[in-house]
């Protein structure tokens, strides 16, 4: 195991542990304030939208809305599959195959 990777894993573990323990330890007496709760519930949608959006619309750090962008095309296929089937294996499996076909087709 490389030391720098171990440090990286420990940093990740600290962040994940904080979110698991903070509510019970810090808010044990007071409970979670309702206002904070109303804000936090939108964070997951925000994070995953951001990760998907940047990966398909600007895969190289610049906006690329053309049909020459295989990430955008495969992304559209995967979004359609996820919406239709709501099944992890179908979305990831067929989405990846779509990408491989696009690559094989020269994109």
């Amino acid at each position: 195991m490389r030391p720098e990777i171990v440090v990286l894993i420990i940093v990740m573990a600290m962040a994940a542990l904080f979110t698991r323990f903070a509510s019970v330890i810090l808010l044990r007496r007071t409970g979670m304030p309702a206002a904070l709760q109303r804000c936090l519930k939108w964070v997951p949608v925000g994070v995953f939208s951001a990760l998907v959006a940047s990966a398909i619309f600007s895969p190289k750090g610049v906006l690329n809305l053309s049909f020459q962008n295989p990430y955008l095309l495969a992304g559209i296929v995967a979004i359609f599959l996820a919406w239709q089937f709501r099944n992890f294996v179908v979305t990831v499996g067929l989405g990846t195959i779509a990408m491989l076909l696009l690559r094989a087709g020269g994109l």
Binding site: L8, R20, M32, W42, V45, A50, L51
Partner: protein, 235 residues
């Protein structure tokens, strides 16, 4: 050694009720192991990561950042924090049941929380009331299956080399799409997602590093709170 706290029956019921969830969890874990190995993590590193971090989305985000050569510790910490923030909500809703349990049990329950465990524990609360053993059983199954699936992925890659060069870098995006789309089940959530998408694309083009994620999160929170407030006023 005793795995349960008070009731073995409840512990086993938690284990059993968790098994159907593993149909979705195992492929997710295998894929995570495959991606980690193809990004250059060694088997022992993947094992350590799944044992200590025990969070699929965090591991995918870290692998993505590591791959793009962008794994600065500060921004990694921030991003893992963001993808896990909803744990605060899950634990806040369980904390009336957990806060007064003995230290070790309480810490194990906190450490082992995941979306799946939360879902079946809440279901159990509705039917029979809370049981710490039930939740421990569910967490234990998730933990063991998650680690095993990660390691299965790591060893699978030895038989299918060079996955990344085939364009499998898109696979992580497909994973995120599979997580995101089922959440968009009402108009407000859809609007929040679209607003975050616009913010993320602008941020990814004009900001350095991974700050676009924070920008999109802020946009999502503001949009969600405003739209929900407005809907309440209308009704």
């Amino acid at each position: 050694m005793r795995l349960y706290y008070q009731s073995r029956t409840d512990f086993l019921a938690g284990c059993r009720d968790c098994l159907p969830l593993m149909v979705g969890g195992v492929p997710f874990g295998i894929m995570c192991g495959v991606m980690a190995a193809s990004a250059g993590f060694t088997p022992m590193e993947v094992l350590l990561m799944s044992l200590l971090v025990f969070s699929g989305t965090s591991q995918y985000v870290a692998i993505m950042m590591f791959q793009s050569g962008n794994a600065l510790l500060g921004s990694l910490f921030l991003n893992v924090l963001l993808v896990n923030l909803h744990n605060l909500l899950l634990m806040a809703s369980l904390s009336p049941y957990i806060a007064n349990l003995p230290g070790l049990v309480r810490n194990l329950l906190c450490f082992g929380i995941s979306d799946g465990t939360y879902a079946i524990t809440m279901n159990r609360i509705r039917q029979f009331g809370y049981s710490a053993d039930y939740q421990l059983g569910a967490s234990a199954v998730q933990y063991v299956f998650w680690t095993a699936a990660n390691m299965a992925g790591v060893f699978l890659i030895n038989h299918v080399p060079n996955l990344l060069s085939w364009g499998l870098d898109f696979t992580i995006t497909a994973v995120f799409i599979a997580i995101l789309i089922p959440q968009l089940c009402d108009r407000i959530t859809l609007c929040v997602s679209l607003a975050a998408t616009v913010a993320a694309v602008l941020g990814a083009c004009y900001l350095s590093g991974k700050w676009y994620i924070l920008l999109a999160c802020g946009t999502a929170v503001i949009t969600g709170v405003v739209l929900e407030g407005r809907m309440k006023n209308e009704t």
